[in-house]
Symmetry: C2
């Protein structure tokens, strides 16, 4: 994964109507997407049958779990807040620390994380799938050239199907989107003021681009930033912002200490609580914290309100989906 730093991007500060970043790979065929949706919702992919991808990345909500950290098998808590799965296909790297280049790589991680889905290894996941006849048939349809029988199913097929389902999770037509298309009534006055403020205050020096998560970069190139840029404020302690060193925990490069993938603003109003550790419960407080820690500015409450109004206008329309039907484990139980 390459790291892009802020200064080299100073020429592309913008906020605008740029088209949604195209998912890096095609959404695949329908059978694959439908299979991926089932796997995404299937708690049998966890060691005790209680946790699915959707448990922490709830697509019926904002694509996260609205918790400071996620709860995996046996009531175990992770240390970070789930990023949203909505529009995740537009992110050039995955996880808060960008440790996965692709949605495929990301999808493999939680399965075997002992505090998330807790499976012993990927072979154990595949062994489960091989015992569910409905899944075997669906893998054959989704990968007709590669999967002729249950023995041909691999974790890469699993990840490919889940990732292609995730690439369909795109929200559109937020009030902001409609405004930029010419409907000047789509935003209220506060949101319009907030839109100007996020530029003048400096927020969009990082939260730029159509996904408000940085410039369009090739898959595998992450847009990482320091947080806090201005350490030492009361917020550091109050919200425990410094302890988790972010990307440094992956790379062990000193330059990566306390750097993080810049998260999207899309649907930010429906994905509280905020930051990598979910320590901030409300959007207005998150705005204040960011202004102070990243730009060394103290915003007036009217400014905070306007910026919040703008951020609320970035909530898109969530497309309707058919509820998946999980293939049965006929006449037996894994648990």
């Amino acid at each position: 994964m390459k790291k892009i730093n802020l200064l080299s991007l100073s020429s592309i500060l913008f906020i605008g109507t740029m088209a949604f970043v195209a998912p890096a790979q095609s959404a695949g065929n329908l059978a694959k997407v439908e299979l991926g949706k089932k796997l995404f919702f299937d708690p049998r992919m966890s060691v005790d049958g209680t946790i699915s991808c959707n448990s922490c990345h709830n697509v019926m909500a904002g694509g996260d779990d609205n918790r400071p950290n996620s709860v995996g098998v046996n009531g175990q808590h992770g240390g970070r807040s789930s990023p949203t799965v909505w529009n995740s296909g537009a992110m050039s790297v995955q996880f808060w620390d960008g440790r996965a280049n692709t949605l495929e790589d990301q999808a493999k991680g939680p399965l075997t994380n002992p505090i998330e889905m807790g499976m012993k290894d990927h072979a154990a996941v595949i062994a489960r799938i091989q015992q569910i006849p409905g899944y075997v048939e669906e893998f054959k349809k989704a990968f007709p050239k590669e999967v002729k029988s249950e023995k041909d199913i691999t974790i890469d097929h699993f990840a490919s199907a889940v990732a292609d389902y995730e690439r369909t999770l795109i929200t559109k037509d937020s009030p902001y989107d409609l405004y930029m298309k010419g409907n000047k009534k789509a935003l209220n006055a506060a949101a319009v003021r907030g839109m100007a403020l996020v530029q003048s205050v400096g927020c969009t020096s990082c939260h730029m681009g159509s996904n408000f998560a940085g410039p369009a970069l090739p898959v595998g190139s992450g847009f990482f930033q320091k947080f806090p840029v201005y350490p030492g404020s009361d917020f550091d302690k109050k919200y425990d912002l410094v302890k988790d060193q972010g990307r440094f925990e992956v790379t062990k490069n000193a330059a990566d200490k306390n750097t993080w993938r810049v998260p999207t603003w899309k649907n930010v109003a429906v994905t509280a609580p905020y930051f990598h550790n979910g320590s901030v419960k409300t959007l207005d407080e998150a705005v204040k914290v960011m202004a102070k820690t990243q730009l060394n500015k103290e915003l007036k409450s009217e400014e905070v309100n306007d910026i919040v109004a703008f951020l609320q206008s970035l909530t898109g329309k969530f497309p309707e989906q058919k509820m998946p039907r999980l293939p049965a484990t006929e006449g037996k139980s894994f648990f």
Copy 2:
């Protein structure tokens, strides 16, 4: 709740084409059902935001969690296996021990059970709902005469909406249903033999009626039976069948010791593991255990196979559903 005993029903032993037991109450208006669906899927109805009704009664699967017991907040395990929510509207009492007369009464229980959803009390549930503007609007639409503002929402409205959604969860057109309608190819030879066996062996003395859960009874009148009828077999110890005293735990009447609501056979093949404690992992073993403990019979393996084939033919078609969209907790988090 009245108790119906076996002998008084000897005249209505049958297995046949009787219409599906009509839900006791109307499915209500569409707004109420849609609201109930959202509440059913919403983990914010639990104390830490991790457990929804659907966590243990997974409608994307067989309406249960395919586990011996369910896992609630903080990784706590209950003592019983989740009954299926599919076709639960056709049951005349709810829970394994029939302690709730209606789906409405049932829906209120897990919310405040400390090892299930863990809410302090029903007021805490309503306080959450009142802070979610999208829900307030939906309660107004679902109960236009009763709910004019958030202050009018009660736990009875919650329960009514959830129960009316559950009443829509009906499976139809199982191979058995199609066979009884005249399609003689819908069942294979083993299933046809099994259909005869469940009568001749005696299973249908309890698993009778269109829901294979007993005779049609008014709501609130449970069809309870002793289990085991013939105690002392090796199975008692092997599967720990006797310790949980079932309905006695509710009524403290000696006559209710180790009695249970007779569960439905509909979709039984997709709701392993089996029995109140989910101690039996496979359907064929469940058939053997029941024959021995309830009828003092040891079945030949061919008989078991035929009965299993018949039970598999009771898996119906699960209707397509639209995935609910949960109203947002805008700009803030409960957790």
